[in-house]
Amino acid sequence: MSSKKNGKVVSYNKWGYIFLAPFVIVYLVFQLIPLISTIWNSFFENYRSGLTQIGPRFIGLENYITLFKNGDLLTYAKNTMIMWVLGFVPQIIVSLVLGAWFSDTRLKLKCSSFFKTVIYLPNLIMASAFAMLFFTLFANTGPINSILVQTGILKEAYSFLDHTGSARFLVAFMNFLMWFGNTTILLMAGMMGIDPSLFEAAEVDGATSTQVFFKITLPLLRPILVYVLITSLIGGLQMFDVPQILTNGTGDPMRSTMTLIMYLNKHLYSKNYGMAGALSVILFIITAILSFIVFRISTRKD
C-alpha cells in the first residue's frame, strides 16, 4: 500500500517536470543560448562590409578595449541616465500623489477606475507611434510652434529637436507620460496592502494627511518603491524606441540623445556582432548587478 503511494508521488513529480518543460525549453532556446552566444561573439572580429564577410576572427578583449578607449560608451551612458532621471523624478512624484489619492478611502474619489484606466492608456500606445506623434507636434512648422508663435510667446519657431536640453526633455517627457500610469498602479497596490488600522489609528490620534503620507505610507511602501526604482532603472538603461524614432536614429543634436541601445543598434548596420556583443555584455553586467540588488532587498524583507 505504502509503496504504491510512493509510486504515485514519483509519477506526480514527473508531471511537474513536464509542466515545467515548456518554460525551460523556451528559456533555453530564446534566452540562455542567445546569452551565451552573445558573450562568445564579443571576443570575435565579425562584421560585414557590403557583401563581404570579415571574420569571424578571435581577437580576445579587443572589442571591449575599443569600446572603453573611444570614450563613447561613457557619453551614451550619461545621456541615457540624464534622460532617465529627467523622466523618473516627475514620474515617481506624480505616481505617489495619484496613488495616495486613489487609495485614500477618506477622499471617496468618484470614477476612480475610469481615471485609473485613463492614466494607464499612454502605455498601451506603441512607443514608436507616440514618438512619431511628438515628432509632428514639435516640428518647426508643427502645431506647438504655431500656437507659441501666434500667441506671441515666441517670436519665431523654436526647433525643439535641435537643442540638447529640449530634445532630452521631450524624450524624458514621453517616457514619463508612458510610464507614470504603470508606476501608479504598482504603488497603489503597495499602498492598499498597508494595514488600514494604521491609518485609522493615525486619524484617531489627529494626524494630518500629510503626516500620514510621510510617516506611515512612505516608510511602509519602501520595498515597493525600491522595486519600482530598480525596474525603472533597468528599463531606462534599455531606452531605445522613443529617442530612436524621435531623432530618426541619429541621436542628434550632436548625439546628445543617443542612448546605449541606440549605439548598439548602430553596430547592427554592418552586422558587427563582435562590437555589438561586447556592448551587450557590458549592459548585461550592469543590469545583472542591479537585479541582484533588487533580489537582495526583496529577500531580506521576508
Binding site: I18, S49, G50, L51, G142, G249, D252
Partner: protein
Amino acid sequence: MKKKVLCALLSATMVAGMMAGCGGSNETPSSAAPAASSQAPAASSAESQAAPAEAEGTVLNIACWNEEFKSRLEDHYPGYEKIDGTTGKIGDVTVKFNITPSDDNAYQNKLDTDLLNQASAAADDKIDLFLVEADYALKYVDTDYAMKLSDLGISDADLADQYTYTQDIVKDSSGALKGSSWQACSAGLIYNREIAKAVLGSDDPDAVQAAVADWAKYTETAAKVQAAGYKMCSVNDTYRVYSNNVSGKWVQDGKIVVDANMKKWVDDSKALVDSKAETTDDLWGDDWAKGKDGNVFCYFGPAWFFNFCLDADREGSVANAGGWGYCVGPQSFYWGGTWICAATGTDNASLVKDIILTMTTDKAVLKEIATKDADCVNSKSVLADLAGSADGNLALLGGQNPYKQLADGAEKVDLSNLSAYDQACNEEFQNAMGNYFKGNGDYDAALEQFYKAVIEKHPELSK
C-alpha cells in the same frame, strides 16, 4: 486514476501546442527541401549561361523597393500579364516582385541575405533581377553577385544610345558593365517663377540661369531672395550638386577623405544658414515640403522630382498653377535613378536579357515611358526628339520644355569619383554637418561625429 488521465491530457495538450508552434515554422523548409532537390538539376544546367531557352526556370524573381519598376513592366513590356499586386506572367514564366521598402536599409538587408544564399536557394527562389540605386550600386556591382551584361549577350552596341554616366555607375572595378537603366536623372535648379519675377525681375530660364550660374552668383541671388522675405532652399537641397562635383572619392586607401568641394558646401551653406537665406530642413520632411506651396525660391532635382515630388495634383501648390521654371543651375549633377542588374545564378537568363534590352534600350518603349510616365529616359535620341517637340512641354513648368537642358546636363555628369561607401558617407556627412549649421557644435566636432558614424557602419575604415 481520473486525475492521472486529466493530467496526461492536459500536459499532452500543452506539449502538443508547443510542438505545433514549432512545427509551423519548420514545415516550410521541410516541404521546400524536396522541391529544392528536384529542381537542383535544372538550376545547375541554367548556371551554364549558354543553356538554351527551354531549360529555363518557371519563376522570375525581381527584388525591388517600390512599385515603380513593376508598373513600368506592366505598362510597357510586351506580353506582360498582371495577375495580382506582386505577381505577373510573361509567357509561361511567373514574375514575382519581392518588394522591400528601402527605409532603414531594409531593402539592402533583404537583398544581401538573398544574394548570399543565392547559391543554395531553390531555382524558383533565386533572385533573377534586382534593382539598385546609384548611392550603393558599387556595393553590388563590384562583386560576383551581379552578372556582366556581356555574359548575358548584351553588347556595348546595344547600349550605345544611353548616356555614358548611367553606365559608369554600374561598372565594376575592372570596367565590366553590370547593369542598365531606363532613366537619365540629370538634374538642375527648379525655381519659383513668381519669386524669380519679384526678386530678379524676370522668370525667363536664361535670365535665372545667369543669376545662379556659379556659386558666387548663387550666393548673391540668395541674399536678394532673403531680403525679399523668402528662403532660397534647404542646405540639403544643394548637397548633391556639390557632392557630384568632387575631385576624389570618399574613401581612398581605407581612409575617409573629405573633399575640398564638400568643405566648400559646408562653408557656403553655413554662411547662407547664418544669414537665414537657407534652411536646414531635412529632405522629404514636413517643414521642407511646405516650400511647394510657395515660400522657397528653388528646389534642386531631376525630371522625376518635378513630376512626382512637387504635388502638381494638389490644388494650391505652386506646381498646380504651373508656377515652376527649370534651369541648369550652378553645376551639373544627377540625382537618383534605378538600375537593373542581373543576379548571378539566375535560371532565366534569356528573359532577363530581354527585359533589360526592352526596358532600357528599345526606343519605342522608352518614348512611351517618357510621354506616359514623364520619366527622363536614358536615350539620347528620344530626349532629342522630346526637346524639339511639344510633347516635352510641361504644364507644371508653365509650359517650358526642359528636355534640352536635361539632355545637356546628362552629357556633363561626371561620375569617376563614386565609391562603394557613398551612401553611408553622404547620409552621415549631411547629418553631422546639420549639427554644425544649427550651431550645436563647431566644424571639428561635427567632422568627428561624421567619422564616428561612418566607421560604425564600415568598421574597416579609418579617418
